[in-house]
Subunit: 363 residues, 2 copies
């Protein structure tokens, strides 16, 4: 990977918890630097900068606008509530800032298309902050899934489950349970990862239809805090997922092909930072008399020097560097993945709103 | 466990492949013996007896009737095609033979109720041959699931997947793909295990409704060879399952509670015969900055001297011995579990037949 002549200068707008992890990732990335942070007050921004390893010379601003007005800022990381994405992502793009945008990227595809239009017409890169995609484990698993002739075969079904037991405080006060801030609730949060993992396993072919499954749980403000859905593809593949704020932390991804099976239980956040595993089985069968398996599944471990979020920042900054210093065009792969993910989320939400009707997906 | 004064004498009617495994299980059980086998020809029965460790003095019959007429036979194991269960199970019960019946127990609950009536009025024990329930691992896992205050909490969701890649020969010739023999296809075979595992995790509370998911695959004779369904309970619990003859061998069970998660990938047939594992996590959370899990899941291994099918036979024969030698009544728990499993299978089939309508379950 060609290094940029100088590190990409990041501005962060908003001091959400997740911004702490991403600040560390920027420091670790090797090709970007923490340059500015903006919050609703200068004090809050200054405290965030101090607590999260910003250099002494970093700019501390009392507004998001100020970050976007700073001509030195190359890229902004946007961890704001989802309902604010459209406004700030568009302004950022207009100010020619490249965008690392938290998920869900918008409240719906219509909003995201406005953001995409702003990015395209201003020539800026956009990437969503789905960290696990950047772990080298994802590439290794993809090799397995793509080996259609020997290892995995053709994908037949996927199941993804991401739940966590939110605290009482989270369930009352977190932005993800507030209809005016993150109206997609758990579907936009944990559900985003489930949908992304399913699409990833399906090589980003969109399903032809989506059905939310009965049993959605809403909070008193009408925000989804647990739900499930099923997806169907033209070729007969199927998938299901379950996401919830109300059950013990679980992060399962299972993909079953004609010849092989992939399993992992920590797909969003690996159990450990420097190594991650997954299990595969290929052409599994039984011993004589069906008293055991032969062959048995095998476990694969992938080491990484950098955590997945630092690799994400590194890849984003590499693309930004290519544009800034090399005259390259923005990479369209990343916004395309974001848009497909959002499209499926929208369909799940529509299915719930229509009383669990099947919703056709039109790309 | 009190031993019977003498071993329970088994007759086997039909020489299906699975009968080989159960013959070995009867030998291993310690409280029962291979006494007779009946097939459509004496030659076939004799060959089966010879190849499967029957004692020299064992009775070899050229019909199923002959086995049921033999007054020395205490119990029969019935591995016949599902469509024949109602006929032979009823005759067996009338002849006062206790019944170890292969799954699915019948083509539908109506038929099974006829079998149950025959068993009740003749005072015979009936148990279905769902082997995994008898592995000591199942009891250990149940302890975990039932610890509602500390470990697992309240069950919120279950996912079960049982698929295997059937050979071309199986897909053309196996009884499980023939509409006149096993009209339930994969739903009655692999799907039986999925439904049983879900009900087991839900402590055999029946769901209030069942919905088959679009994407059912039928063979040219109209038999289901891949399908999925979702289940909903009154209290908000949900479950999904997927079963297929068209995908790599996979046997997943995941149960997620408010505090804990249970995972295993070999729930029907353990990877190894003498030991079996499962993974649990309890009150899982993250490290500071969400860069890993704390605590991590833990693995539990359960050893067993006898394979699960021998433990099944042992439990069945213990119950038969209590009736035969101790004047006990048949244990009603086992047929009740069979009936609930069949009830849910029926609902899935009805949902498919009605074009994926939600089907209410009425116990």
């Amino acid at each position: 990977m060609a290094e940029s002549p100088s590190p990409i200068k990041f501005g962060i707008i908003g001091c959400a918890d997740i911004a702490r992890k991403v600040s560390r990732a920027i420091i670790l990335s090797g090709n970007s630097t923490l340059y500015a942070v903006g919050s609703r007050t200068t004090e809050k921004a200054a405290r965030f900068a101090k607590e999260n390893g910003f250099p002494e010379w970093a700019k501390v601003y009392g507004s998001y606008e100020a970050v976007l007005e700073d001509p030195e800022v190359d890229a902004v990381y946007v961890p704001l509530p989802t309902s604010l994405h459209i406004k700030w992502a568009v302004v950022a793009a207009q100010k020619k800032k490249h965008l690392l945008l938290e998920k869900p990227v918008a409240l719906n595809v219509g909003e995201f298309d406005v953001i995409l239009e702003a990015c395209e017409s201003n020539g800026v890169q956009i990437m969503d902050a789905t960290m696990w995609m950047h772990h080298p484990r994802a590439a290794k698993m993809k090799e397995f899934l793509l080996d259609s002739s020997h290892l995995f075969g053709q994908l037949k079904s996927v199941h993804s489950c991401f739940t966590f037991a939110a605290t009482k405080d989270f369930l009352e006060n977190d932005i993800r349970v507030k209809p005016d801030l993150d109206a997609l609730g758990v579907l936009g949060d944990a559900g985003w990862y489930c949908v992304r993992s399913i699409l990833w396993a399906a090589d980003f072919t969109l399903p032809k239809s989506v059905l939310a499954l009965r049993g959605t749980i809403f909070n008193s403000a009408g925000v989804i805090i647990a739900c499930s859905a099923s997806l169907q593809w033209e070729d007969g593949k199927t998938a299901t997922f379950h996401c919830s704020f109300l059950a013990n932390l679980t992060m399962d991804l299972t993909a079953v092909g004609t010849n092989g099976t992939l399993h992992l239980h920590d797909f969003v956040i690996p159990f450990e930072e420097k190594k991650a595993s997954f299990a595969t089985s290929v052409k599994s069968g039984f011993t004589e008399l069906v008293t055991g398996w032969d062959p048995k599944p095998s476990e694969h471990t992938v080491m990484t020097d950098l955590p997945q979020e630092a690799l994400m920042v590194r890849e984003f900054s590499r693309l930004v560097g290519s544009i800034k210093f090399g005259g390259a065009k923005p990479e369209k792969k990343w916004p395309a993945l974001s848009r497909k993910t959002q499209l499926v989320l929208d369909a799940v939400k529509t299915s719930i709103e229509r009383g669990y009707e099947t919703v056709e997906i039109t790309g």
